[in-house]
Amino acid sequence: MTCPHLTPEDLVAWTDGELPAADAERVAAHVASCPACAREADLLRRTGDLVAGMPRDPAPAGFGDRVVAAARAESAAPTKRAPRRGAGRILDLLVIRTWTHAAAAAAVLVVAAGGTLWLARLERGGGTAVPGALTAREEEAIAEDLYLLANLSALESVEAEELARIADDLDVLEAAADAGVNGEGG
């Protein structure tokens, strides 16, 4: 745009018929007396027409049938809600379990760092530390979960069966914590 009298927005909107009547009259009056703006408006209008005339990319043959079939397959599937996938699902599970333990006035503090597992402590509301009693199999399962939790982004690709298994393992952790809290794990 070379002319100081009009903003580019005004000139473009004018060629598109998008200006309110009063503004459109003002622009039209200026364009009528300014060859530079008249040329500019002409180029902008032709540019718009060219974009409008760009070739279409119609849907490929059979597209509609494929879409309808996909929709039908979806609605024919069991109507249960799709579970949250990956990290979202794991976070759901952790939230549920955190609240469960809060209710029992106990907290499980687990720190996973560099692949090393520390079951720090199973602590009762009164503040007495009770050592956890876990089998090797339980520790292994927990270590695996913690590794996954430390790599939440990787969980986006975890499938439903895997999530179910992780949920089971979290149950093991929960049971171990309960055992520790109740003093039965000695």
Binding site: V12, A13, V51, A52, M54, P58, A59, G64, V67, V68
Partner: protein, 205 residues
């Protein structure tokens, strides 16, 4: 008020599955076209368009005809396309130099680097045929920043008003105007050498 598409959605909500097939047939070319031009890939456009229609289908029980169906489906198409574009960029990190556009500047004027256009542009002198002009135009549009490209395609290619373009992109009217102006001026400036050679027939006056 007789929006045929809203009527079809209402029928679908009542369980009339044929209404969905009709909706798809009515909209498939428009949705695929916009997705193809936004994504610059026919294959990706088909995936995106299928996802758009499945979203429409999944919303059949909660759809409330408060706004025009067209605004709604354009919004879904824009969101799905831009998400796909970003996912594709994340998968394919950019390497090498990007082309530049005269008059570009500011955050939204970055050249979209996901897929540099072909580099065998013969220049104005070699432009003898109209499909050459069409190819240059397509390249210029392809090289616009994605939001400018989406806006100008909605407005000019799909024929939406400024207001509808803003609604489809979830923008204020002034933000949409700004995008449309920048897109239009950029295309005009890059196309001007070709227009001035007479490669473009004057439009009838």
């Amino acid at each position: 008020m007789t929006d045929p598409d809203q009527a079809l959605m209402t029928a679908l909500r009542r369980g009339d599955e044929a209404a969905f097939a009709t909706l798809v047939r009515r909209w498939q070319d428009r949705v695929v076209s916009l997705a193809a031009r936004t994504l610059r890939s026919a294959a990706d456009a088909e995936d995106v368009a299928q996802e758009v229609f499945l979203r429409v289908y999944r919303a059949r029980e909660t759809y409330e005809p408060t706004a025009a169906f067209s605004t709604w489906i354009w919004r879904i198409t824009v969101n799905t396309s831009l998400n796909a574009l970003r996912a594709r960029k994340a998968r394919r990190p950019v390497s090498g130099e990007m082309p530049s556009v005269p008059g570009a500047g500011g955050e939204d004027d970055r050249i979209d680097p996901a897929e540099p256009a072909d580099a065998d542009d013969p220049g104005p002198a070699a432009l003898a045929e109209k499909d050459e002009l069409a190819r240059v135009l397509r390249r210029i549009v392809d090289e616009l920043p994605e939001r400018q490209r989406t806006a100008i395609l909605l407005n000019k290619y799909e024929g939406l008003s400024y207001e509808d373009t803003a609604a489809a992109m979830d923008l204020s009217l002034s933000a949409a105007k700004s995008l449309l102006t920048r897109a239009r001026v950029t295309i005009k400036e890059r196309l001007e050498p070709y227009l001035d050679t007479g490669a473009l027939p004057p439009d009838g006056d």
